[in-house]
Amino acid sequence: MEKRFGIPKSAFDRYLLFKGSKSWHFVRHSPGIQHVSKLKVSRVGMRAFQKVGRFVKPSTRLIQCFGHMAIRAKFQIDRRQLCKLLAGEELTFPAVLEDGYVILFLGEDMILGLGLLLNGRVRSLIPRKEIPPTFLER
């Protein structure tokens, strides 16, 4: 997160990372967390990362929570561009950047989630079914 987006490690100091078979979960550290091991737990905190092939992808929700601290690999788009991305099209990234994840912003401050930059072109990794169709029609 620090290498790609410039989000400092210290941003995560107050959180514990739990590893599952294919994902990692963040939960806020607290004195009470030690008791959790004695309970029948279905889910811990928020899913933060998941394995996608041989890569590790931050989750949309993690990026929405911490993306405001990013200082690079950011892509600000407008509604028209968002519609294109969600329709499966790619957009040209307006800077030189290594292939990898970029944070998609709608306007200046609405953090949508991640896109994937490959050879100067970005495609969306936002869960398509979660963006309301009525929003896109307007």
Binding site: R28, K38, L39
Partner: protein, 302 residues
Amino acid sequence: MTESFQRYREIIPEFSDFQEALGKPLPKHFRINRLKVESATLIRRFQERGIRVQRSMEKDDTLHVVLSELDSLGKSIEYFLGHIHPQALTSCLPGIALCPKKDSAILDMCAAPGGKTSHLAQLTENSGLIIANEPHKRRQSPLGHTLSRLGVMNAVITSYQAEQFPLKQRFDYVLADVPCSSEGKYRSPGKDAPPREVRQEQKLAELQKKIIVRGFDLLKDDGEMLYVTCTYNPEENECVVHFLLENRDARLIPMHLDLPQDPGILEWKGGRYDRQIRRAIRFYPHRVDSVGFFMAKIGRRK
């Protein structure tokens, strides 16, 4: 005019106004999620898009109602971003009544679908620990989804029957938003309420009594519990709280909420309840245009 809920004629004040209110649709209340956005920012964005909203409570800038014609709040970009949560006004009152401090240990005994749980996380600023217990497996996924969408990072989901939650640790706050007959949600223009299922209600009351006792036993010495239902039925409300007072060293804590409210009742069908139950609160749709609610705040007797 609907003849719904005639059995409550003697205990619900201004009963004809109450019946009339049942014929109107529920307003579109929502809560601004401060974990992800500031209230002023969200309101400004809505205003820029021509969406008119109004505050629901003077002293809380996160609770609003939509005044414009709007398809559904669940179809807005703000919903996807976790900036808002459609939530009945009365459903936000448990969090306000409990008023949990930061870094506390909280148990939400019947947490799904997660509106109240996420409100508690917002009020504690994602600090401390919330155990979001949900006994029904099929409701755990929507609970997890709600908590993720709203950026809740201090919650752990467990899957016990609420009345059997283990006594291995105690909590600063317990929320017992119990399964109930949900009469308070009923709004249907021109129709009568669905017929009562008496045996089902009796089973519910037995379960509610077990849950309230277990919730109380999970409190720390200075802990506070909120017993909540969305029904008008005294057999699921005051009677259950009275049962706790008879079986445990408990006391009712007064609450002061900035909305029209009525006290708990002391008599129903020949039964009399502990006088402390006047400190419980009833919310009716003709006083607060929202889901009917009952709340009782409980602590250990000092």
